[in-house]
Symmetry: C2
Subunit: 585 residues, 2 copies
């Protein structure tokens, strides 16, 4: 591996597990990877002879960064060195103009862009696509460097932009600068793939990547609430890029999510190496990106890309007040026992990426995972626990649009408890009480099928996306709410027939239970709201994860108590019968 | 770390992640750990001066094995070296007699045992506890070495036993041999804990460990079907041992499961270091045993011990026909993309532990995880894919006692479909068909509440232990089956009222739906078996794992088809009305 940064360092554990010998060409004796590998000679990666010496007795040459000159890579390849990714693929990650052309040729969604050679051309571009525009140096940028927002014609030929134009026109490669429209995106995504030389390509789930001041801050896998069609199209685009460009190894395709456009996304940048947006996979995927990169460049079959436990969150920790990470370990590890620390072994400088925290858990607890990761990372950064500020969890999803949650409930609701009318609460509160007894988080709301049909359908359609896993719906009379919700949600719906003044609830029961084939409702007894709560708990308790097992155990304890209570009542009755007082009860 | 075996090697990745510098005192330049760490001087761990030189500039000294002489550790400790675990704890893992006395003093479940100094004493012990008995050398045994089964008085003073007695009485420590009863155990378990010097102790779930010829072959985490009370008692025993013995670092307590005894288990052996029975945790637990050992010996707060995805299986690969592991990688990795290979970088010798395979997945797919691990490990061992023989998956749990599964269904059933009478099948098959359409594995059986009440309760009680996650029960008339099952299982029970000849099914409906508070049954419409199948799929689809998401997507497709069919019918009706033929349909 050429380059001794944290990517090379994090490759080392994967190499140990697979039994592969990893050698690193380090920039100096103190860089991140040196402490992690047996063999790490120091050398200058811009010097061809150094590269040749290093490559002389390795099987495969790969990279920690994209800065090795293309002509050196071509020379090495010509000498028979297995350079992976090869220079003709790598140039697409090295040169943003080359990348834009390739994306356009493949018909994949680009923002509007143009190569510009002068401030005048930039102004013409801005007048065409609208201001502001983004100006980029085609080569050498990373983490927001080499990217400039130009607000209007007045800024096109002054300051940084002027300097860039001057340097670009002074070069003899004849390349200009890259001008791009400022894409109206809702968030940034990343589609990561791996490809081996003999052709196999695999894709991880598309993730959300949250940037702060142009630097990756947090990654959520999979991207919450992403339209499955957009997710699939983004994966397909990344696979296609890997195949058409002949990528070997791991590639991250950074994307903008652009709701309202045809594709729903546009390509931002490419990175042909393990990438910050893939660090979550080290703990969160069956195959982490570092192991996968090794397998890919060695042309070994690629590993499964499933998310191990449903979700994962990665939070970077940048250099801050704290100079001694180890001194902050006790507090960080004790506050968050689920946090996985990845320390890059670098000296602390403000804003420098010096490590990250991964947290793995269920898809229903993404906000919790974000809090854990943010909390642990902030303790490491600050050297003390200043608590998690609401602003620390950046870019939080919108406020829960539905339902009240009980005060003090700090987990996101997993059961949606809805009823046709607030007068049903007298009956339905028994469901809420059962859920509270068993520690199951829920939300409660009135959603009338007849008085607010549109909202009712919206509630049903979005329930699973908002993390709900069961719906309990109570209604009386012509009780349509449970069945209507069941017709628009993939979740199990439990129906509670609420008895009204006439018919003893038989109207409600038959309206709820006699659903047509294809749309089931789990119906409980008339006014049986308590059982609806318990049934919802059994559904959650049937899940194969740790929280499911917890709940099953609580349900078992609960059944035990029920049995003991029945035994006590039996004993009391026997006593009463013995005393001749039973008939008085 | 003193010792350069695979345990030291596997510590290296954990050290890299935490940013800890790991140095290894290696037995030679070729041992397993040397390739994995930056600093690995060669030296003799039985030589005090070598140990002193090595310990001079480390913060903490810990071990890859238990063979460092106790007196050396005491000397180092006296000089102020942080020896973890310390010699007074470690001696319990070094000397089985010391261990038996400690377990007895703490009142934890020991097998019957005695220190014996002569064949005569051994015979007396055997006559007392019954033959065969197990004879052990107190020190130096591992992987079945130092353990001898003595079948009767005739073998007590001959062969290996005679040699051991001769050597023991020749030593000047005055110690004899350890005689133990041959415990009647159903299987072997392992309870693993970690403790830090300042006192915190954590326990992983108890695992099943399958031995072949005295060597660990496979580990299943958590131990399938283990009585939760026994599991908790075993964890408590391990925690207590760690605390009372003052253990620092990771400790494995190997156990026998002994059904029918008071405790349900007995202590077999202790290991005070990462252990083969904990390798699953590298991929399967939030905190792997190697990271935890580092945290523990450095007195850092310990990490969460949850099973990340519900279950994990570890399979060792021992040296076999194949001399070149890498040559077998393409086949192994391609056959099993979920397999995590851990290669110890050792030369291949028959029967030598040269690596292991971990597979992580849901608790419902343990048999599948075992097959994956066994398949990948056997390809590495054989150098070719000879297929997984049924005998390769050793010690398989007993045959499924309940229910027929559809032919070709290769996943274990997750839905139990039962009915009161085989005549109900005409109605209930619609549930089976819905499950098959959605690819949900199930089993089907007749379990009559009235004609086989005991078996019916047993079915309900064991359903969740056998991996079922939902029960569908159909019955007619005085339909007691769904409610009775619901009273003994923590799983959700879906009730299908089957209509008999009279009352149009209203008797069945009310018998099933009108359950008392505390015991819910999810009731569907009369004869609504198809909806019962769909509802079961929704319950499974609400789980937060990948298989849940898969199923939700299939359910969404299904709803889409249902909607399209309804649109088609509407369109056909409109056409018919337009042609004036609607009334003829």
């Amino acid at each position: 591996m050429v380059g001794g940064g944290q990517l090379a360092r994090m490759m080392a554990p994967a190499a140990v597990a697979l039994g592969v010998e990893l050698r690193v060409l380090a920039e100096g004796p103190e860089v991140s990877a040196v402490a992690a590998v047996r063999t790490a000679p120091t050398g200058d990666y811009t010097d061809l002879e150094t590269l040749q010496r290093f490559a002389a007795d390795v099987d495969v040459l790969t990279f920690d960064h994209e800065h090795v000159p293309t002509e050196h890579l071509r020379a090495l390849e010509a000498q028979g060195v297995a350079v992976r990714p090869g220079p003709s693929a790598l140039v697409h990650a090295q040169d943003k103009l080359v990348m834009r052309r390739a994306v356009a040729e493949l018909g994949l969604p680009n923002p509007q862009w143009q190569e510009v050679f002068s401030p005048q051309e930039l102004v013409a571009f801005g007048e065409r696509v609208g201001w502001p525009v983004i100006l980029k140096t085609p080569r050498g940028g990373y983490d927001g460097k080499g990217v400039l927002r130009v607000d209007g014609p007045q800024d096109a030929g002054t300051g940084t932009a002027a300097g860039w134009f001057e340097r670009a026109t002074g070069q003899d490669d004849g390349a200009g600068l890259l001008a791009e429209e400022a894409v109206a995106f809702s968030r940034e995504l990343s589609a990561m793939v791996a490809r081996r030389p003999s052709g196999q390509t695999v894709a991880w789930p598309v993730v959300e990547s949250i940037q702060v001041a142009g630097v990756c801050d947090e990654v959520i896998a999979p991207a919450p609430g992403l339209d499955p069609q957009v997710a699939r199209a983004a994966q397909d685009a990344a696979v296609r890029l890997a195949e058409e460009l002949g990528v070997t190894g791991v590639m991250a395709v950074e994307l903008f999510e652009t709701p309202g456009t045809d594709a729903g996304f546009a390509v931002n940048e490419l990175a042909m190496r393990p990438h910050n947006s893939g660090h979550w996979s080290m703990d969160g995927s069956v195959t982490g990106q570092f192991e996968q990169h090794l397998r890919a460049v060695l042309d070994w079959p690629l590993g499964a890309t499933d998310v191990v436990a449903g979700a994962a969150v990665m939070k970077n920790y940048l250099g801050g007040d704290n100079q001694d990470l180890f001194a902050a370990y006790p507090q960080a590890l004790s506050a968050e026992p689920r946090a996985k620390i990845h320390n890059y072994g670098k000296s602390v400088r403000p804003g420098r990426k010096i490590g990250h925290v991964n947290v793995v858990g269920g898809a229903h607890e993404i906000q919790r995972l974000r809090q854990i990761a943010t909390h642990a990372a902030s303790i490491l950064r600050d050297g003390e626990d200043r608590g998690v500020q609401p602003t620390d969890v950046t870019d939080a999803p919108e406020q829960q649009p539905w339902g009240a949650v009980p005060s003090g409930q700090d987990e996101p609701p997993r059961v949606g408890l809805v009823m046709g009318s607030d007068s049903d609460w007298a009956t339905m509160r028994a469901a809420a009480e059962a859920l509270e007894e068993l520690g199951v988080p829920y939300e409660a709301d009135v959603v009338s099928a007849h008085r607010m049909p549109t909202e009712m359908l919206e509630y049903g359609r979005t329930a699973h996306e908002r993390g709900l896993r069961v719906i309990i719906a109570g209604a009386g009379g012509a009780a349509h709410l449970p069945g209507m919700l069941a017709s628009v949600t993939p979740l199990p719906v439990i129906g509670v027939p609420v008895a009204l003044k006439t018919l003893d609830g038989m109207d409600s029961l038959l309206s709820i239970v006699q659903m047509p084939a294809g749309v089931p409702v789990a119906t409980v007894s008339i006014n049986g709201a308590r059982n609806a709560g318990l049934l919802a708990a059994r559904v959650l308790g049937s899940a194969p994860d740790a929280s499911g097992q917890d709940l099953r155990e609580r349900l078992r304890d609960f059944a035990q108590e029920l049995s003991e209570a029945a035994h006590r009542k039996g004993s009391a009755l026997r006593d009463a019968v013995g005393r001749g007082t039973a008939s008085q009860d």
